[in-house]
């Protein structure tokens, strides 16, 4: 009887250890890391001629062209 209790105790302990091991499971989802651009550097659109680095002039031109798409302003209705 004592021997049976002894084995039962060992089995219970092993089972408890096995079940507890589940609590320590770490997340296995890979962490996503955004890559870094590996290609050649590009220059801003206003760097070259005809703007020669004048960003304000470029923005003004783009704004004017964008408003040309607005016929409510273009035809003044």
């Amino acid at each position: 009887m004592t021997r049976l209790t002894h084995w039962a105790g060992i089995a219970f302990g092993a089972m408890a250890a096995l079940m507890l091991a589940g609590c320590g499971e770490r997340p296995q989802v890979m962490e996503f890391k955004q890559g870094k651009y590996q290609g050649k550097p590009d220059e801003p659109p206003y760097a070259a001629a005809p703007f020669n680095g004048n960003k304000d002039l470029w923005e003004r031109d783009i704004r004017t062209r964008t408003q040309n798409q607005n016929e409510y302003k273009r035809i003044g209705s």
């Binding site: 220059e43 031109d61 964008t66 798409q69 409510y72």
Partner: protein, 220 residues
């Protein structure tokens, strides 16, 4: 300046494919590659709508996230571009893109895939601006000339708007509030004037003798 964006007004698009043609002509796009295309739903039935689709230059671009060689970059104007010298033509970006924007030229027999090609918002690529190399690889750099994409500027009904996101959103908002909705957009009201805008006493005007309520029709 905010981010560069495209906005297509489905109420105005007439499926003329002018944007597709303009893009192909401007950028010398090879056969089999369509950087832009017009998608039509409910084709041939009332309620048909068309919309012009190309790269949407996403703020959190999936193509950028999945590229194994990290050949994508975003310009300071928010345009998503890529370096063709680095691209290996794997096609991951095509699977990731919800708009089917990345295109692959068929370089030979058995469907061999070439380097990826997509809409550049007419902003070229990482070569010297307006150089021969840039034109050959990416097409024309209109942005560096102070111009907007050819597709948007060519659009005859101005359904396709391109430019600073805040500005085109404001143009669209003004348009929608001016034209109304339902039969005011397409139908009797547009053709003959809305009942509230007709001259007093004119046939069909409210309060005119024998006037019947203006019928409503056309697309809803």
């Amino acid at each position: 300046m905010a981010r560069m964006k495209f906005l297509c007004d489905a109420e105005r698009c007439i499926e003329c494919n002018g944007c597709v043609t303009a893009c192909k002509q401007e950028n010398d796009v090879p056969w089999g590659v369509n950087r832009r295309r017009v998608v039509t739903i409910n084709d041939g039935v009332p309620g048909e709508r068309s919309i012009s689709v190309a790269c949407m230059h996403c703020s959190d671009a999936p193509c950028m996230a999945v590229c194994p060689v990290d050949c994508f970059y975003r310009s300071e104007e928010g345009v998503v571009l890529h370096d063709k010298d680095l691209c290996i033509g794997c096609g991951y970006c095509f699977y990731a893109c919800p708009f089917g924007a990345p295109q692959f030229p068929q370089l030979g027999a058995f469907g061999v895939r070439g380097k990826m090609d997509k809409c550049t918002f007419c902003a070229g690529g990482p070569e010297k601006d307006n150089s021969e190399a840039e034109y050959r690889k990416y097409g024309r750099n209109r942005l560096a000339e102070g111009k907007l994409p050819a597709c948007a500027e060519m659009c005859s009904t101005k359904a396709l708007l391109g430019g600073d996101g805040d500005v085109i959103a404001e143009i669209y908002r003004q348009r929608v509030t001016s034209r109304g909705k339902g039969s005011e957009v397409w139908g009797w009201g547009t053709a003959y004037g809305r009942p509230d805008q007709r001259a007093p006493g004119a046939p069909g005007a409210p309060g005119a003798p024998g006037s019947a309520p203006a019928p409503t029709g056309g697309k809803s």
